[in-house]
Symmetry: D3
Subunit: 341 residues, 6 copies
């Protein structure tokens, strides 16, 4: 098994389980009681638990779940098979199978299901966006819509699903990339003018970071785009349109007009990024409408994706097939599973 | 302000901000850049930021957000107004107003919005369930469907929204109650029989914990209910029906039948709890159908609730009204806000 | 014409018209009056009546209608053309053409239309089921949902439409097969246990009748299936799942689970039959869901099929084309019609 | 019990059970087998069977079912409770309870359910029409759309549901009224002219029968109405409009126009009857549109009504409550039931 | 009749019939042929023609139709009854009845129906807008969407239906008011700046005309509103928002924001007008959303309203009731009609 | 440019602009004001205006618009490009481009848009009918549903869209054909009988006009068809069915029946025309239903077609690209445009 461990170790190591999880703080209380009862009864059978999603999608959270199992299962008495982060999975397909003494992993059923559910939901939504966008990169901007404890996990899952960048520092660290971002409305409001804020950005920020100006704060977007392009010249990488719903959101026609006006003024090198309420349907609207978008910033479509719930079932106890009503006793064959421990 | 602090302190103290959040790991990277630019430019105006939800609901996460602000804002130069956890809020209503030097809180915009968005989503879904259920208590069972880092927050928010109990240890601690739970299918499968498992539970678990037997694992629910009732006698508090979708879920008729058979056999003291795919619509189906349910266990309807996104806007800089396009400059009046710092 | 008569005679003879029908008890009273008026006026022209359905389907009732006409039309002054039971017919297509003295058949217009309408409706519904089921046999179980005077006709029509068996004694006699059936819940309830009832069935019933046990009366279906399979061994032909709607109906997953548990216990020879609310949509749900069903029992989808109404029109009187408004005078060509009298 | 019998006898006597039904020809074959097995086992417990519909409606067929039970149950060992023909019944409400030795009635479960299902379906549809029509009488004209074996039962059920007349001879006999009817298109076509046919009708038919002329065969309805009114004068009771769908069906405007033209020509005593595709919705269209209709002829809406299926369950065997899964053991209270045997 | 004529004369005189209409250029050719045939046959009966709409609405075009009839009917041999422009009319209600020699008016059936159809359609749509807007005035701006031959009629009908103003010179003349209007985008584009154009407007246009500035041509609407308000001071009556669909149309939030920014800058006297795709639904959206709109400009909802077709029927010829099939012969009573000639 | 003028002159000359339009009576008042302001300011730049429809369709009204421009633009200082009447155009495609001194055409923006909007709407609806009808000719009968000022324009547009004839005298003159028409109900009612009216038509009307008899006035359509066919013999070209909605409109079955009855009586040369509520859907209903219709008369589907609104934008002033917000400055390329002046 040594080989397997080495391969995986680098991926798992960044998902070090927290002490609270190891203590079982996030466990349903009935698992604490179950462990207690079985210990008192002297029962600790070698058991097989299978974990499967209740809907299809893109798996994420598996490395993190395996990192937890690696920490709690006895090294010399365990067998674990799994699909990998980024794999497509269909509804009810076994994605993880654990064979080990029950008392070593029973407490973590809640945590394992939860890790997989949340991350698979985010990665699946990101995949939908990436497929709609084709060659155009999608960036995850939804950190502000989830609890900060999981914003890094969310951004990491967005990358697994197909995004090319994310805005949170921790998400970028987990995905081993540089965080992406332009500037917030707050910078412009504090400085009082978009051009002034963009020039200050250019002056103080490391030159490796792209200059992308947010152009909907105070003036008409097309007018502001021409002003920042004139001010920064060739250093301007892109403008970002984020028109609020109170002003009718970004339209395909607006992107075309800004593109045309930039080109007429000799700023063809300046890209147009779009954000604000972006969904796969909205991406298709821009793409099919021929709007020359160079990048999409995506917020709550990914961050607010419904978790894809997972279920964990015991299928074998002490070598004997068993199952609750509604399930088929014994191990469920799935040739796509790989032995990982 | 001293009085205010004391009153709030106990509530905030349990939401101690993590070092990662304080460091800004969960912040969008452009806030790091904004702070950097403004520092370099020597700008740190007293600014007013207003935070409002983009949909109506039940506020949750405010105590946690205030705990973070309490830690980072200068004690002698800050004014904070807020609505409270559990308050109803309407779409676009200002729920939090911060007035302080911008560099002291600008970095936390992402975290504050994320804390409020996730928790408000969960609390709002819980309120819908509680309203549908009327007098019948609802218990949050969804810990397994969210990432363990936030499962405690989710269960806490469910309590704020109206649930009477939750299954995770951490959620119960935050809400200052005992965690609720019956027994998992795993205990029954490991022990091989429902009656045996229920007797073991009764033998080993503190007598303060209610005896609730899960009766759909191996046999017909009505048959199993009569078996456990016969075995535990008056000690049995309730049976829980959790019939899987493969067997047609729990129906109102099944609840009535189990109730009738228990009564016919002299077990009128045994309550019937229901779980599995419970939503407000399903609750109304049971209630309006006259099914004698004594408690609902609710999973992904609450845990998978879409976040209710929050937006943060600067409305005043150095005493002057200002705003981005689409917003009205200056402070937005909301007489429901209370000064909390 | 002699040849024609001989061919048909065997089919028609089993549908001997009743005295009440011959008397005209089932006729609309205005036909009695019409016959009376024409007799008084001395009118009895050779008339051509055409009969067609108001919707497409599978013809049934034609043999029965012809048996009636054979009895009442003058042998030496009649011409009858018809499509056959089991033929597909399209809306408005002439299915029966009668040329004879009007007074000899005018009274029977109500009966002929009624025979064809009811039977065509049943046969058409049966065809829909049979097409959905493909190779899997369908059995008609709907006798209890129609008046016993017509339950045999209904079951016969179901066979014409494509069923492979039926439960009523008279339907089976008309279709010249053995009636099908397993056992009613009543037998099991009277005997108090499914295994006991199945053993009694096996003991007393002719060995030519298949042993099919109904397994949803008292216990979980999978558990009961294993019990009866163990008790009867190789003599058990099949189990029948008839889970009531109060328990969520039969699901595809339940069929798969019972199949798997039977196989795991070495009872691969035992088939699984399904009944209860079966419709073409439900059949497709099982077939497309891969559920290993070996036979469907179908009740009210066939027995409650809406009649496909027939209309009878005079198109020629004394050799002259004529018709009421809205119809085209003269004989309607239909090359599919065959001369049968 | 003598009193009860006498009261009911007159109603039941007209529904003498046929020999085929008594022999069990219409029974599901498994009841024959069940009787055989129980006889061999020497089992014939006093059993309670409850019969209820699976949908709400107007009960019909009860007298006929009771006539059958009266014939087969032992006079000195039976208890029967029932609702009555014409009563409203709600879904799942017990409409018939039989307590007697099982072997005396088990064979007739199929027939009893079928009698009730078919007749209740027809009566319920008739009630819908009668309610829509209010004071305007509805006549059942659907004999041609059902098998002649049951056309009398159908017309009888239509009367129970609220119709004021029916066209079949047998239906009228069961309901103890005169059959209704005008004249068929066939009479007019054979005679070649509507006026000629109407005059012949008047000449030869008993003067107790109303003169109602069918006016859509050859000419425009309004023109023909004036012609027959002129020809018959005060003897004409009504004209019947039956415009075929090929000519746009009868419209409310046509009724008003014919009414106005008749009135203008001094024939205010001539009523206007309407038939052809009449449903409750069509009746409401005429009534709410103010069309002066004096009677509706209703065909397949009643005759093609879907049966309202009944289910029969054993709830007590030898004095002990029992039931299959999904039902509640023991007698179901229903204070509306009356003891009838 | 003299009195009647005088009263009406002023209203009719402004609708002088054109020579082309009097010549019958707009008549269906079969009326020319009919006149020719009847003249040749020497037939010119006094006939009664009734004209009614095929849908409900607000009558308009009646004065114009009467002006035509006044010109062509013989003064000493005519009777005309009519409803008035602005009256509500229901579907099929007689709105105009003409009694005169047929040859004097038969040719004008096409023109009379057409005048009423088009004008009634426009007036009815205008009424829907006015009702939705309540106290807020609606102005008709749709002249550019109809042929210039009828643009005056359209604007006049809009006023009859409830608009308070219109933009076309001829429509205003017919309705006896001053035409309304602000300034077109063309003026601003030719002059190159909104403030410059507004100042030029103020300089050269009669001071009786309100100063209303169109503020969406080059810059953000809120920014431009503040610029023109600063430039004109108290002379500015209103700004008009006409944001194109490419920029998301006008929203309720935009109106509120412009209102708030104007108020903050001390320009509370400046009203906000809204135009662009206005319909009754959009009006309700603004009104129910609390947007402080001071006037709506309405284009194609009124100008593109479907005509409400009228039908003309002869009901009496030479004093005898007559009618085509489907109509009731003789004069149709309508007490709301008034004798006008 | 001389060549271009000659080619176009014949087409434009029939659309001589009226004095009212040249005076600007139909112009929005703000254009009068704009001209006044610019004259006072001494501004009259060479400007480029582009005109495009807001929906796709068949262009009509272009010749009329060009006739107006030809009259008002300076012959030596103008460039005009246009698509042609009858061309398909897509939404937003530039259909007309004018380059000339602004003061010479600015006043006519309202009229040009209105001419194009109304005519394009009518032509587009006619094209839909013609495409549905395929080889069967469509005739425009809607003159009575529009104001007589524009009925000729409407009929002309119907011809441009694909109709083969029209009923108004002026429409036929513009399209350079003979007007089409049969006879009105009025002729038949005045003469009292359809046959009599048809014979009078035949007697008095030029033999070059087809004899088409309207057969639904007094009697059943099939009966009347046979009567007129018998009376006129070979001179009868066709019958027209126009059954009113009160009698169920014309049905496909009625057409087939009339066709069959005419053929049975030896009148195969008599065609069947259909009118009354004809739409593309109704045409498809007849065509796909195999009804042998020889011509469709179409009324309000064409005459009541919603205008397809046009927008006019300035894109260049004094040689400099310019545009309002939401449009792209400078000339819009469209290779389909042809230089016409």
């Amino acid at each position: 098994m040594a080989d397997i461990r080495e391969i995986q170790n680098s991926a798992w190591s960044k998902f070090r389980p927290s002490e609270a999880v190891l203590r079982g703080d996030s466990a349903d209380v009935y698992f604490h009681r179950t462990i207690h009862i079985l210990e008192k009864e002297g029962l600790n059978p070698i058991s097989v638990m299978e974990v499967f999603p209740n809907g299809g999608g893109i798996i994420c959270g598996m490395d993190e779940a395996l990192a937890l199992l690696d920490r709690v299962l006895p090294a010399n008495n365990r067998e674990v098979w799994a699909l990998q982060d980024g794999n497509a999975v269909i509804s009810k397909e076994v994605a993880l199978r654990i064979k080990a003494p029950y008392l070593r992993f029973g407490l973590y059923e809640t945590a394992i299901c939860g890790i997989l559910a949340a991350s698979t939901g985010w990665a699946t939504a990101a995949r939908e966006c990436a497929q709609a966008a084709g060659e155009i990169p999608c960036i995850s901007f939804g950190a502000r819509h989830v609890h900060p404890f999981v914003s890094g996990r969310m951004d990491y899952a967005a990358m697994v699903g197909g995004c090319k960048g994310c805005s949170s520092v921790e998400g970028a660290r987990l995905a081993d990339i540089e965080p992406s971002g332009t500037m917030p409305h707050a910078l412009i409001i504090v400085m009082g003018d978009t051009v002034k804020a963009t020039l200050a950005f250019d002056k103080h920020i490391d030159s490796g970071v792209s200059r992308v100006s947010l152009v909907d704060t105070f003036k008409d977007e097309a007018e502001e785009s021409l002003r920042v392009a004139a001010a920064l010249g060739n250093k301007l990488k892109a403008v970002r349109l984020d028109t609020p719903v109170e002003r009718g959101r970004v339209t395909a026609e607006l992107v075309k007009e800004v593109r045309a006006r930039l080109d007429q003024a000799g700023h063809s090198h300046v890209d147009v990024f779009v954000s604000g309420g972006i969904t796969p349907d909205r991406i298709r609207y821009f793409v099919e409408g021929g709007a020359p978008v160079a990048g999409f910033g995506i917020g709550s479509y990914i961050s607010g994706a419904k978790p894809i719930d997972y279920t964990a079932d015991l299928h074998e106890v002490d070598g004997k097939p068993i199952a609750k009503r509604g399930r088929i006793p014994g191990i469920t064959e799935n040739p796509r599973l790989q032995r990982v421990m």
